[in-house]
């Protein structure tokens, strides 16, 4: 039986797949991001932050890398239960079959375009499965949190930073 991606997600298979992988990946526990996970997150950042990131590819690459570092730091500050859940999500997204079936991204993350990744994000954002919607929410919050935590992103939004000079 060949399911279309949409059927796959809608039948709830996606959910049970996430859960069964979850059990398998649990053994890893809280851990550092792997190179593959960093690549995946970089692709997501590039799409989520499109519009905030500069066009110049080298600058963009550097800022995305800093944001991925920020995400890693933020994840390490969460409860162990949340770290485990996110570890499962990241671990799943870097598996080629899951990337293809769950995210609908045919190319390796490193080669996926902003448009392709955006389509995947939009799919999860408007999914009928709470699990995928919440996964989108986590990726959204982690990425924007890591981006706007850095003082060098404030000029673009006109935020002068905290008052200085008195303390």
């Amino acid at each position: 039986m060949i399911l279309s991606r949409r059927q796959f997600i809608q039948t709830g298979l996606a959910g049970s797949l996430v859960l069964s992988f979850a059990g398998w990946l649990n053994a890893a526990g809280a851990r550092r991001l792997s190179a593959a996970e960093r690549e995946m997150l970089a692709a997501l950042c590039s799409a989520l932050l499109d519009g905030a990131l500069p066009k110049d590819t080298e600058q963009r690459r550097q800022l995305v890398a800093l944001t991925v570092d920020g995400i890693a730091t933020a994840v390490a500050g969460l409860s162990l239960a949340s770290q485990k859940e996110l570890g499962e999500l990241f671990g799943l997204l870097v598996l080629a079959p899951a990337r293809l079936l769950l995210a609908g991204v045919g190319k390796p993350w490193r080669e996926a375009s902003v448009a392709e990744v955006s389509e995947f994000l939009q799919d999860w954002r408007s999914s009928r499965l709470g699990l995928l919607q919440s996964a989108y929410g986590a990726l959204h919050d982690l990425t924007f949190g890591a981006w706007y935590a850095r003082a060098d992103t404030w000029e673009a939004i006109g935020y002068p930073g905290p008052p200085r000079g008195y303390f």
């Binding site: 924007f144 706007y148 673009a156 008195y166």
Partner: protein
């Protein structure tokens, strides 16, 4: 800037950072208090003043004005539960709670309201709490208002709050100024990251230093794990030291023995401790009726700069929409404004890519209004249920049902109308499919049709209440009106978890007043002095 905490420590306060303990230990005291927030702070002050030997247990760190750098990147991981991203079990509600000495009071926004009269009436009718009324509580509120400098705030509201004033006045909706617990406030607007000027009269600067000056002991980075009990008495509290990251266990344990145990870990935290301990709960009430004041947000672009990060965060409110229907009718809501800082705003705001970036570029022109929905009064608004995760840490199930969404829709409509009346050029509910609207007519139509569901509509909370509700009998409450546990004689709960409903008002002063009363009763009992006269 002088740092009173550093001074106190230099003068010999007994503070033990459990992450540095070389070995496990056992400690004796008269009273052990779990949690150093609104409830724990007031309790420590009053009990130590009665001459009792008090030990405070806090899982967060001790931080003070010299650490408060007004940066979200430091403040959220250091001072909040789960780095300010605690969520309900389904992840549909983001929950802000403090986790540091002073608890949520160290990071709260200083709005101070007494418990509304209609709430006491409801508690009397539904939970038999006839001892609690406007009259019987007024002197307790007055004492705490005096102690914590709760005053009307006479500085003009910042532009963010001014939008609420302007829009509401145009529509004939009454607004009023919010009292704040501040002394010499610099009007900076960074209350949520810890007050850098020591103006905010939080527990960190008031009751806890008072207790430490009297010789109380404060443990930080120590998590209360389990109360041990024998028959109808608690005999000890087992605690687990955490590493400096506040997440991983450090391997050392502390056991505390005392005559009396006060649990003040806040809603979610307190019921979880009682559940982990297997405290008798024959009517299955523990952790139930946990309320959030679910908040929905409306974001507007104003023609002029708003700079919603600057100036006292909440200074204006409207209770107009709390009084449109009976308290147990369709959900009423309180209107206020939140402070906006880049991380808080960007993570809450819907969308991604260029659409998100475009809204962020207008950051300085954004006004946001929030509506706190008064949950827990409508018969179908029964709140959430705390349960324990596999690691023994709490998780909150809070179903967002139709009653909530119906109120949320009215709230989003009301806020958009106010924002347009104040001159907004564009308004959007914080909602994933809202296109945003450029006139009230458009918004009215659009919001009426918006699908309101978990994840699509952003819901947040900074007011967690309930879970160890008080009542007149053990059939409908975990503790009585004094916060005394119905089954274990030497156990009290002194925090926001004892409220049997939400409040329809920001909770801190309700907790200060009630706990001042209950800690005074307890102090009299434990020290053998005459009890305070209660009207």
């Amino acid at each position: 800037m002088q740092d009173p905490i550093k001074t106190g420590l230099a003068n010999g306060w007994k503070h033990i950072d459990a992450s540095t303990l070389a070995r496990s230990q056992t400690v004796e005291a008269d009273v052990v208090i779990v949690g150093t927030g609104a409830g724990g702070g007031v309790t420590a002050d009053i009990l130590s003043d009665a001459g009792l030997r008090v030990v405070l247990i806090e899982e967060g760190p001790l931080r003070s004005s010299s650490d408060f750098r007004m940066r979200e990147a430091d403040a959220y991981p250091e001072l909040y539960q789960e780095s300010a991203s605690r969520k309900t079990a389904d992840k549909a509600v983001n929950i802000l709670q403090g986790r540091c000495v002073g608890g949520s009071t160290t990071v709260n926004w200083t709005s101070s309201f007494r418990t509304p009269p209609e709430v006491f009436d409801f508690w009397q009718r539904q939970f038999g709490l006839r001892q609690l009324s406007v009259e019987s509580m007024s002197s307790w509120f007055a004492v705490m208002e005096h102690k914590l400098w709760v005053r009307s705030w006479d500085t003009p509201p910042n532009q963010n709050n001014q939008v609420l004033v302007a829009g509401a006045e145009k529509l004939g909706i009454p607004v009023a100024g919010i009292k704040r617990n501040v002394k010499g406030c610099w009007n900076l607007g960074y209350c949520g990251m810890g007050c850098p000027t020591n103006a905010k009269q939080s527990m960190l600067l008031t009751t806890i230093p008072a207790a430490l000056n009297r010789g109380a002991t404060l443990y930080t980075r120590l998590r209360a794990e389990r109360l041990r009990f024998n028959g109808s008495r608690v005999s000890a509290l087992d605690c687990m030291a955490l590493q400096p990251d506040g997440i991983h266990p450090a391997g050392k344990r502390v056991q505390l023995r005392a005559r009396h145990f006060v649990v003040a870990g806040g809603a979610i935290g307190s019921p979880a401790l009682l559940m982990r301990s297997g405290i008798p709960d024959p009517y299955r009430l523990l952790g139930k009726r946990t309320f959030l004041h679910p908040v929905v947000i409306s974001s507007a672009l104003m023609p002029a700069r708003v700079d919603a990060y600057a100036g006292a965060p909440q200074s204006i409110y409207s209770d107009y929409f709390l009084h449109r229907a009976p308290i147990d009718g369709p959900l009423g809501f309180k209107l206020e404004t939140p402070p906006l800082h880049p991380v808080l705003y960007a993570t809450t705001l819907q969308g991604f890519g260029e659409a998100h970036a475009r809204l962020m570029r207008e950051f300085t022109h954004v006004n946001a209004l929030l509506a706190l929905l008064r949950d827990g009064f409508h018969p179908e608004s029964r709140g959430g249920q705390v349960r324990l995760g596999s690691d023994g840490l709490p998780v909150l199930d809070y179903p967002l049902g139709d009653v909530i969404w119906e109120g949320a829709r009215r709230a989003l409509l009301a806020m958009a109308e106010i924002q347009f009346a104040a001159g907004a050029r564009w308004v959007t509910p914080v909602h994933e499919t809202s296109p945003g609207y450029s006139s009230w007519a458009e918004a009215k139509k659009g919001i009426a049709e918006l699908p309101l569901k978990p994840f699509l509509c952003r819901v947040v909370s900074a007011h967690v209440m309930g879970g160890c509700g008080m009542a007149d009998t053990p059939q409908r409450g975990v503790v009585d009106h004094r916060g005394r546990h119905f089954w274990l004689g030497n156990l009290s709960v002194h925090d926001g978890s004892v409220f049997p409903t939400s409040l329809g008002a920001n909770p801190q002063l309700s907790i200060y007043g009630l706990v001042a009363r209950n800690a005074s009763l307890l102090a009299a009992e434990l020290s053998g002095r005459p009890p305070p006269v209660i009207p």
